[in-house]
């Protein structure tokens, strides 16, 4: 009898219906598909030995749909789902409260379904609980687009303690911003623009961008971090990040043709490239403007405001699905043998896995 293992699932009902649908042919990710993802997750969590799942109630319709779905019989046994008894305000506060409750309940992992914004919120309060970051849509850099079944299996293996070694999860960096002492964070990039106001959240015009801070930048990423990724890639596991000073393409020494949003590949002028070391306070050059966190304009500031940005190495821990599944194969975690029958791996040529296991 092993001890009870629980997993939290945090699904944001409101992700991804912004201006990128209009200006960049962004994908549409309906609630029904989120619920299908959760259903597949639940099957995999059950198969992986998770006994209990905690979720956030929501006004957007995910909990309502799921409750209906859970009443219908499934071919695959699913662990019982508990929706927290909590007030629902249909906003960011719901996510913060639900994740706090999940941590209190001692879940072994939290699966997050949402975009960069949702993950940013979760990261504020999840502490050391590892996250499985799943993207719902094409607009995201931090969470991966990945089949929920596999993510569920990997999450179960970590949450139940079947995979424990350090390689199963990795720590992430985080970018912090403080405006007059009020803090926020980004997981991928922080961009400063000299625009006077935020309209729709997404950043999709580059003419007024002045500075870009990235925690990691991959050459094959989509989003603002791709500007750095195409000239000075840094991995999620590298110690430092990168800071770019931006300028209109005609006025800068270098121009990078970057996929700053899905369907939007535009030239971005880069005037200077700097290392960004953890803990180093960065000055924001623009006297007033707008700060975008992971590609979403969130903060307006003016010349009276005290603005600082820095990189931290204490971001959320995330489950490395590929490594966990490789470990599962290696250790035969999802394998059982019947001694009365001959072992198929000990016949013929396919002996490697069994011998290694």
């Amino acid at each position: 009898m092993h001890k009870t293992s629980a997993v939290g699932i945090l699904a944001n009902p409101a992700a991804g219906r912004d201006i990128r649908r209009l200006v960049a042919q962004a994908s549409v990710f309906p609630l029904a598909e989120k619920c299908n993802m959760i259903s597949r997750l639940l099957s995999a969590l059950g198969a992986g030995g998770v006994d209990e799942v905690y979720m956030m109630p929501d006004a957007g319709g995910i909990s309502r749909r799921l409750l209906r779905m859970l009443q219908t019989p499934s071919l695959q046994p699913r662990p019982p789902v508990t929706f927290f008894d909590m007030p629902v305000v249909d906003g960011a506060a719901d996510t913060l409260l639900a994740v706090e409750r999940m941590v209190e309940a001692g879940v072994g992992a939290i699966v997050v379904l949402g975009g960069d914004g949702t993950h940013r919120l979760v990261a504020q309060v999840c502490g050391d609980t590892p996250l499985t970051a799943l993207s719902t849509g094409t607009n995201n850099v931090f969470p991966a687009l990945r089949e929920a079944t596999i993510a569920g299996l990997a999450t179960a293996l970590v949450a139940t303690g079947q995979v424990t070694d350090d390689g199963a999860t990795c720590s992430n960096k985080a970018l912090r911003v403080s405006v007059n002492g009020t803090r926020d964070l980004a997981l991928v990039d922080i961009c400063v623009s000299t625009a006077l106001w935020t309209g729709s959240k997404a950043v999709w015009r580059v003419d007024s961008l002045s500075q870009l801070f990235v925690a990691f930048a991959e050459a094959d990423a989509v989003g603002l971090s791709s500007v750095a990724g195409l000239i000075r890639p840094v991995s999620r596991r590298d110690h430092a990040g990168v800071r770019l000073d931006l300028a209109p393409p005609g006025e800068a020494a270098m121009s990078v043709t970057a996929p700053i949003a899905p369907g939007l590949v535009v030239p971005v002028g880069v005037a200077a490239v700097h290392d960004l070391l953890p803990g180093e306070r960065q000055t924001v050059c623009a006297p007033q403007g707008v700060i975008a966190l992971d590609g979403e304009r969130e903060i307006e500031f003016t010349d009276g405001d005290r603005v600082a940005v820095w990189l931290d190495d204490d971001g959320p821990r995330t489950i490395d699905v590929e490594r966990v599944m490789a470990r599962a194969a290696h250790s035969g975690l999802l394998t059982s043998t019947d001694q009365t029958l001959s072992n198929p791996l000990q016949k013929g040529d396919s002996t490697d896995a069994a011998e290694q296991g």
Binding site: I19, L22, V23, V28, W197, G199, T302
Partner: protein
């Protein structure tokens, strides 16, 4: 998308005019002097303003039963509107239309509409006219969350997409179709999601945020003008008054409106951000406030003093010729 000082001041003037107009009609209605059915737009000002700031008189809009805000934002004469609401002869529609049917075609305002879901087919027509005449005009149809469930809306979204019309459909989702919650009446997650079934972009915006409405509407309108076809924009918003004047609103949570008024008011929010960003100065806004206060006072006094239509007006304007 840029917004210069003049635009910002125009936006403020429009939103504030709508607010003061509606607040005053609310007060005047209680005296019993305002006849008929009146549906107030207060709380939703950022939507009409953020959209119509991109339009001029040659562009068309069609509206809903909650149409005062759209009329003001599209440039209808405020005194004429007030006189119309009082049923007076100098009213914009000669006292024959009333609150639910204010129109001024010379301003591109195709009418408030007493039929829920009335606007979308009409703006398809305005879009078709623009496309046929090749004049670069666009047409914007406003519907509520209630109207979004009407067949006319669905049919029009399809037709506009099939014909690639320069139309923008703005769904003002204020949470209630009369007294019935959108959570009850609507099977989709977001009303904007319906757009994908008609092969057009569907965007959700915060209808309390002028800047967001302005930016998204601007992109959609530019796209339509350039021949890119229709867009559906869902604005999530709250109305400050009831469905109609006299609605006790017992179906709403007791603190629902107060919370929004305190924390998310579109005009307060706009003023604070525009001043903070240095787009406008406090003094500019105070001066506009005084103008508006005078304007509405004048409009009400003129309306009350204006003559009503006479017997000979009963049978005119049925036809152009008969």
């Amino acid at each position: 998308m840029q917004l210069n000082k003049d635009d910002a001041l125009r936006a403020y003037r429009t939103m504030k005019t709508i607010r003061v107009f509606e607040d005053r009609v609310h007060v005047e209605f209680e005296t019993g002097e305002v006849p008929g059915f009146v549906h107030l737009y207060a709380g939703e000002e950022a939507i009409a303003t953020g959209v119509c700031l991109h339009l001029d008189d040659g562009d068309r809009i069609a509206s809903t039963h909650r149409g005062h805000g759209h009329c003001i934002a599209k440039g209808c004469d405020v005194r004429g509107m007030m006189a119309e609401i009082y049923g007076r002869k100098p009213g914009l529609c000669a006292g024959k239309g009333g609150s639910m049917h204010i129109a001024d075609l010379t301003k591109g305002m195709m009418g408030a509409n007493g039929i829920v879901g009335g606007a979308p087919p009409l703006v398809c027509g305005a879009g078709l006219a623009a496309k046929t005449l090749g004049n670069g005009r666009v047409a914007v149809g406003f519907v509520g969350d209630g109207g979004s469930n009407q067949g006319t809306t669905h049919e029009s979204l399809n037709l506009a997409s099939v014909w690639q019309l320069p139309c923008i459909f703005v769904v003002e989702n204020n949470g209630y179709a009369e007294a019935t919650s959108v959570k009850y009446s609507t099977a989709c997650d977001d009303l904007a999601d319906r757009a994908s079934g008609f092969n057009m972009p569907g965007i959700v915006v915060d209808g309390h945020d002028f800047f967001e409405v302005y930016e998204v509407a601007g992109e959609a309108i530019d796209r339509a003008r350039a021949g890119g076809g229709p867009t559906l924009i869902e604005c999530k918003v709250n109305r400050y008054y009831g469905h109609f004047e006299g609605d006790a609103q017992t179906y709403r949570a007791p603190d629902e409106v107060e919370n929004v008024r305190q924390n998310r008011d579109c005009i307060d929010n706009f003023a604070a951000r525009a001043v903070s960003a240095g787009l406008v100065q406090e003094d500019d806004l105070a001066s506009i406030d005084r103008d508006i206060s005078d304007l509405i006072e004048d409009a009400v006094n003129l309306a009350k003093a204006a003559p009503k239509p006479e017997a000979e007006d009963l049978l005119t304007d049925v036809y152009v010729s008969y």
